[in-house]
């Protein structure tokens, strides 16, 4: 990997390494272990490159999804490497250029990739200092580093660009490098403006939708009327003769058309829809009682938490409630899109997938080719909030491209494709009983949860790619996977974030998936927190306690108490406070995935007496996600989560008939608009930069929880989606 003057090498597999170079760095810290994804990919040049001009390239296998991760990772590298942010180029999620960091999901990117880059950059800085010491015949401890230049007393200096000449960065991480400590941060911990915002706001071709490679053609797919429909007849003559049409793809029940112009492709798609006849069967469950049918489906039941004697306590006052939520969709504003090029036996796919490596494996399976015949390169798309149509659109593009070798194929889903074919968030039911002791404390808790899987993302097989269901190879729909706790799937945050003496939590993992389901932001977290926190308020009321004080009594972790107290204080929570008539307030607390960020939320809502419409007026959140690399980034994420959760809670429910999804556009699946945006959404960040002496894993930062808890007091007779689906209590 000695690249002469330019060393921007990239290590995918372990190779021989020069440990001695590390020693030259003068690292005196006792042996430690690499952290985050540096464990799996320990070579520095998998993460960092420096060229002869001193430009730095940072490679991350995580994807920018609009969450600002690219900027936060850049801040880590710039800080620890001691270079100007402007000298850094970020390369994100690409099977051709970055390591396999799996999916960009679960608020884990700072933990996995951030920690890796942080440590790799710190070690590389030490290595560079060591090289400079050798070149300048001095001791490393006498050198200072700033802006990519190592300087010796007296002013002799070497730039990083000079130092890498003829030297290799292909060396193994030892996890022992001294990190720049938080008090000396210049770039981390600051509100560094997002790198991708100015280009996005001035029309640069940032999104995969904006790609326009030479020779590109436009494709559209014609989907069956429902999941199980089969093609009975097809008359292609008219479609093939339409202006601009280059190719009609008809393989089994898979139909698509490619044309020179985008509008030509749309016209041809409409014609192809008319030309196809389908046999449609009734496959969807009864919409009128999705909750009864959910509970009646085959399930595996498991006690996921048991403490003390579990359940409610005899002799104590018992309260109970049930909570429900319908199917909810991701609803990206930009429908899924991908570009693929099949050339010389190799397929390259540009995709807004959250996991380029798993997608590559699935596409290779679909095409029956080896994995190395496929590359997937992530390019940003519209915010996805989980597993939406991104991977399927990539599969569409890869499939269609096989019929048009040498020409990049751009597949753009239509709005009805996205609404109708994305995997939704599972419907969920929770039934909870709790008992209150004489001291007003919860002395027993029993929570039962029903949910389908939240995991049908592409992994190895093509079954998880919806287009593959319809091609002649007929990959069947996937099995759902369970995600183990503490992360959890449907059971994410089903175990209360409180210290309870006796508790039992049972998860009924429902196997069938009559509607397609998969990962939706926070998985089961949103609903479980909704249910638990709603019930906590009811328990507080029954105990004649203030809801905040009641929660604090059940919390022991000082960081948990700190967010609760801060949210309450900033909100102006006061048990005696009078709200205008028709207004109510609510409080919620959660520690995400029971091990990640702490979040507390206070909200004021109002109910329109005439219509029963609920509106979120004001929200104040406090969050502690550890070392806040970019506080504004965290605030923006939490604000967005609060607004999106308000939309889910107040408006959203996927509708369907016996045969098909009927939520096919924004009028049949309304979401929150500007008239319902709260007057203020405040987020307060408790920043806890880890001390340099803390254990490596304690350096972990959840950059943000994907969802904050929300709580609503529903008026009787409200007709919103959530109220319709709530139990009568």
């Amino acid at each position: 990997m000695l690249g002469g003057a330019v060393v921007v090498s990239f290590a995918m597999a372990p190779r021989a390494f020069a440990q001695g170079q590390n020693k030259a760095a003068g690292s005196t810290t006792p042996a430690a272990a690499p952290v985050g994804d540096l464990k799996a990919f320990p070579y520095l040049d998998s993460w960092l490159g420096i060229d002869a001009t001193g430009r730095v390239t940072v490679f991350s296998g995580k994807a920018e999804l609009g969450q600002g991760i690219m900027t936060a990772l850049m801040q880590c590298a710039a800080e620890q490497l001691a270079v100007e942010p402007a000298t850094i180029t970020m390369v994100m999620a690409s099977t051709a250029r970055t390591v396999n960091e799996g999916y960009t999901a679960g608020s884990d990117s700072m933990n996995a990739s951030g920690n890796a880059i942080l440590q790799a950059a710190a070690q590389l800085r030490a290595v560079l200092v060591g090289w400079a010491a050798a070149d300048l015949s001095t001791d490393p401890s006498r050198l200072t580093v700033a802006d990519g230049v190592v300087t010796a007393p007296g002013g002799r200096r070497r730039s990083y660009g000079d130092l890498v000449q003829g030297r290799s960065l292909h060396m193994k991480a030892d996890g022992a490098a001294d990190l720049i400590p938080p008090p000396q941060y210049k770039i981390m911990g600051r509100d560094y403006p997002r790198l991708d915002i100015p280009p996005k706001l001035t029309g640069a071709p940032v999104f995969v939708q904006d790609m326009r490679p030479e020779g590109m053609v436009h494709a559209r797919v014609v989907r069956p009327p429902n999941y199980g429909a089969t093609l009975t007849s097809l008359d292609l003559s008219g479609v093939a003769a339409l202006p601009g049409v280059l190719k009609v793809v008809h393989q089994g029940d898979y139909l698509a058309v490619a044309a020179e112009g985008e509008y030509q492709a749309i016209i041809a798609m409409r014609a192809l829809q008319q030309a196809a006849r389908w046999q449609v069967s009734k496959t969807l469950p009864d919409r009128t009682d999705i909750y009864a049918s959910l509970k009646a489906m085959p399930a595996t039941s498991q006690v996921i938490a048991h403490r003390g004697s579990g359940g409610t306590q005899p002799g104590s006052r018992v309260l109970q409630a049930a909570y429900r939520r319908p199917y909810v969709m991701h609803g990206a504003i930009g429908p899924s899109c991908a570009v693929a090029l099949f050339e010389a036996g190799h397929t390259t796919v540009w995709t807004h997938s959250q996991g380029v490596y798993p997608l590559r494996a699935a596409i290779a399976d679909m095409l029956s080719v080896p994995e190395d015949a496929v590359d997937c390169i992530q390019v940003q798309g519209s915010g996805c909030y989980g597993h939406n149509g991104a991977d399927d659109a990539a599969a569409d593009a890869a499939l269609i491209a096989q019929s048009l070798p040498g020409r990049p194929v751009r597949v753009q889903w239509m709005r009805e494709d996205e609404h109708g074919w994305e995997p939704y968030g599972s419907p969920m039911v929770a039934e909870v009983q709790a008992s209150l002791g004489r001291d007003g404390m919860i002395d027993g808790w029993n929570y039962e949860l029903w949910s389908m899987t939240f995991m049908t993302r592409p992994a190895k097989s093509a079954n998880n790619l919806m287009p593959a269901w319809y091609i002649p190879a007929r990959f069947g729909p996937p099995e759902g996977a369970e995600i183990p706790l503490p992360s959890g799937g449907g059971d994410r945050n089903a175990v209360p974030s409180y210290t309870l003496a006796n508790e039992q939590v049972t998860y009924h993992y429902v196997k069938p998936m009559p509607l397609r389901v998969s990962a939706l932001r926070s998985l089961g977290g949103y609903f479980n927190v909704f249910a638990i926190e709603s019930f906590m308020d009811e328990l507080a009321k029954a105990a004649h306690a203030d809801p905040v004080a009641f929660r604090l009594k059940h919390l022991t972790d000082p960081r948990a108490k700190a967010v609760v107290e801060l949210a309450a204080q900033k909100f102006g929570w006061d048990a005696a406070q009078r709200l205008p008539s028709g207004h109510g307030r609510g409080f919620a607390y959660v520690r995400y995935e029971t091990i990640k960020a702490y979040c507390a939320l206070a909200v004021e809502v109002s109910v329109d007496a005439a219509t029963g419409q609920i509106r979120l007026r004001r929200a104040v959140a406090a969050v502690d996600s550890g070392n806040a690399v970019n506080p504004t980034g965290i605030k923006t994420q939490i604000q967005g989560c609060i607004v999106q959760a308000a939309s889910w809670t107040l408006y959203e429910s996927v509708d369907y008939s016996e045969t098909e999804i009927t939520s096919r556009d924004w009028s049949s699946y309304p979401i929150l608009r500007f008239d319902a945006v709260p007057e203020s959404v405040e987020v307060h960040v408790i920043n806890r930069p880890a001390s340099p002496s803390s254990a490596p894993e304690r350096r972990a930062w959840g950059r943000r929880p994907r969802r904050s808890p929300m709580r609503w007091r529903m008026p009787q007779g409200c007709a919103c989606a959530t109220c319709r689906s709530r139990p009568q209590r």
Partner: protein
């Protein structure tokens, strides 16, 4: 052939006169600002300004646009020299994925042209047709307020 007047320049455009402006802007003129969101006039991702009106470019065929002034995101400024609204959005970090933001900026642009000092209610009512899924609304409102202050 139809001559479109976009961001102060004339462009002769071939093709089906029924083609919605959106596809011509994006593919023929290679302007990325207007986005495809729904193609149904329901989300505003494709918003551009024609004369002084915000329109859904996914809904307006080029046949009706001869002689009219089309302004897109690119007409407001560049990355080096962003216009006042773009600056205000950048300062407010008013974007998560950012896919909806070009449409938001264009609709806000039309508002500030007719009302330099809109109230909060004016802004909300005016912005109602545009959807954002990331929940960036509070920051979008902040950015428009800031820009309005500057304009006034």
């Amino acid at each position: 052939m139809i001559t479109l007047h976009v961001n102060g320049q004339d462009h002769a455009v071939e093709g089906d006169p029924a083609t919605p402006l959106l596809y011509v802007l994006r593919n023929d003129l290679r302007l990325n600002g207007a986005k495809f969101g729904c193609g149904l006039g329901q989300c505003g991702a494709c918003t551009v300004v024609v004369d002084d009106e915000p329109i859904f470019s996914c809904q307006v065929p080029i046949s009706v646009l001869a002689g009219r002034r089309v302004t897109t995101l690119e007409g407001l400024g560049t990355e080096k020299e962003p216009g006042p609204l773009q600056k205000a959005f950048i300062a407010a970090q008013a974007a998560q994925c950012g896919y909806c933001i070009p449409g938001m900026i264009m609709r806000a642009h039309a508002l500030l042209k007719r009302n330099a000092t809109p109230s909060d209610d004016d802004i909300r009512r005016w912005m109602q047709p545009n959807l954002c899924r990331c929940g960036t609304h509070p920051r979008i409102l902040d950015a428009i307020r800031t820009a309005a202050g500057r304009v006034s």
